[in-house]
Amino acid sequence: MQKKITVALAGNPNSGKTTIFNMLTGARQHVGNYPGVTVEKVQGLCRYSDYEITFVDLPGTYSLTAYSTEEIVARNFIIEQKPDVVVDVVDSSNIERNLYLATQLIEIDVPLVLAFNMSDVAEQKGLVFNNDQLAKLLEAPIVPTIGNKGKGKAELLDAIIKTFTQKKEQRIHRIYFGDEIEEELTILGNIIDDKESLSAKKYGSRWLAIKLLESDADILDKIKDKSVKEAVNRSIDHLKDIFADEPHIIIADRRYGFISGACQETIKSTVELRHSVSDMIDAVVTNRILGLPIFLILMYLVFMLTFKAGKYPMHWLEMFFEWTALNINAFWPPDSQSWLKSLLVDGIIGGVGGVIVFLPNILLLFAAIAMLEGTGYMARAAFVMDRIMHKIGLHGKSFIPMLIGFGCSVPAIMATRILENKRNRFTTIMVIPLMSCGARLTIYALMIPAFFPNQYRGLVMWLIYLIGIVLAVICAKLLRLTIFKGDTIPFVMELPPYRMPTIKAIAIHTWQRGWLYLKKAGTIILAISIIMWAAMSYPKAPSKTLEGLTAEQVHKANLEHSIVGKIGLAIEPVIKPLGFDWKIGIALIGAAAAKEVFVSQLGIIYAVGTDEKQAKQSLREKLQANYTALQGFCIMLFCLISTPCVATIAIIRQETNSWRWAMFQFFGLTALAYLITSVVYNIGTVFVS
């Protein structure tokens, strides 16, 4: 019978924690969310000796204060879920800063194991460790590891199991904060034991006292007793008097003092630090003149990889679905009107196809992003773009998802994961659809040649894209001034040294994203697609009225008779100010499923038949005959601004963990589209006449 234990992995960002996690759990991972927040929860399984170990990869943090959601999540997991062991992954080439988190873990008094990762880099730097002595001072076993080479796995697992099985002894070396602070800690500790005994039992009164002296917002919330709060204020005032600085700074300083002392005794530096390769690369990459062009070239490559290379697998997938549809069709006699056949072929296969079609793009995009982040380039890229994006109130990194938005909104919105700041992220998500996506191109390709003479076609296309970008900038600025108001630019960001990410890490990360997409967004897209299919196909026109009509005319009659058809007819008065009629109305509703559907819906309504080339031409002629160029332009404008498709709504639901923002964007964009299109149409009519 295997023993089951839970182990939490903590550590600084860039410490190689996730690489260690991958090393321990391989592909047996599961990604979800911590309840109530948009912080990812990553778990994985490892079987070793006779133990079944569940590893939880906590968010990377520099400390365990209440300053950010990630820190609160990490801290709460350790305190509330009480994992059996906590492993702190430390970048040993950067040890002093990395051990700050360890001191906080020591304060919480968890069973601790230290993984001194990147030990090869430390060795290169000439650092020599006396791990035995250091482990004694920190009272936690130290295991040197090299995560991206898989070294140290067995030793780490052994240390974890040993720590789990040995008897928990009282810690000898506490971090000593100096006489004055220790005095206040004792006073507060006693009061807490007395007045808040429940919390004291759960968290430990000394730890609570430390947190209260640090003015930790989360803990302050949990303390209800007034006399405790008063005592805390007295202590803080007293200490401010003595030190002429706030207690939390002094406490932080004493922690570093503890680390410094321990390190001075146990770590020797034998080589003088020289200009590293990283510095040389940075001189070029963040160079005033070269930085931006280099960034743009890399972005171009990412875009090409995602969409051009993605075309091939997409094409194969399309062929596969067509082949499947044909085979299923073959079960029924030709011309069969069976609803089951229609459900399977048009509804389900169409719907599933509509979901899977995004997968190659998503996988390729995330592989590219994993590559950029893994090498450390992303931090530099953010800064190269920052000056420009800052003027809009966005972060430098926002540029990347917005660029992807020109291909497709769905992977673009998923890509906003690279933005840590929630406000930046949400603002970016809201305006991404205004980047005219690839599907809308099918609409422009239909409309523009229908209404505009050759010499103006390029101009009109360019104009539409430009309007989208300008609107995005304006909306972003507005959102940042109102709903997403607040300082969001990080004041300080670590520049990790360049490294080579492992293929394994990129593969695991990419696969996780793809799987998450399929599971969460995919199900919603499929559900809505089936509903739309039903609404577009039923109810069918009574067979009496269909006698004597051609196949195209039958199709047209059925569409007009369906739910979507009836809605399209009903909303005509509403869309008349935009210059639209009920036929456009029907096509627009269908377009909610996917923009390309707009074209096929129009094709059905104008009964142009199924031969592709001929159909397009005759459709253009019909459009020319029925609408003016202004109306054509307004149709494109409306399609540009309004919600791209249900897939977008579904992905926003997934990425923001709520329907609220998805609906906000849907209604917001629709309202904006309506407003702008009606203004353009009405002003335009005045000019034209």
Binding site: S63, E96, R97, H248, A252, D282, R288, F383, F491, V492
Partner: protein, 77 residues
């Protein structure tokens, strides 16, 4: 010997090493910066101070980029 002058970090040129005196920021941010090593007394080496361009410093062996305004708020000597 005259005491060294207090200046904002933004005025320090490339290659200079200074000592942090104080940070003009709110509680939360100061705590975060402290965790990253920016505490009174710590040595800061300016790696790249260029306009426009990232303000890069090295603290406790880690390179960091400082955002706009932040460098103004860190007082050093």
């Amino acid at each position: 010997m005259a005491p060294k002058q207090l200046r904002p970090l933004s005025q320090i040129s490339n290659g200079e090493r200074v000592s942090l005196v104080s940070i003009d920021a709110g509680h939360g941010l100061k705590t975060r910066l402290a965790a990253m090593g920016l505490l009174p007394g710590v040595e800061i080496a300016v790696v790249n101070n260029s306009h426009p361009g990232p303000f890069v410093v090295s603290v406790k062996n880690t390179k960091m980029i400082l955002g706009r305004g932040m460098a103004d708020k860190i007082i050093v000597q």
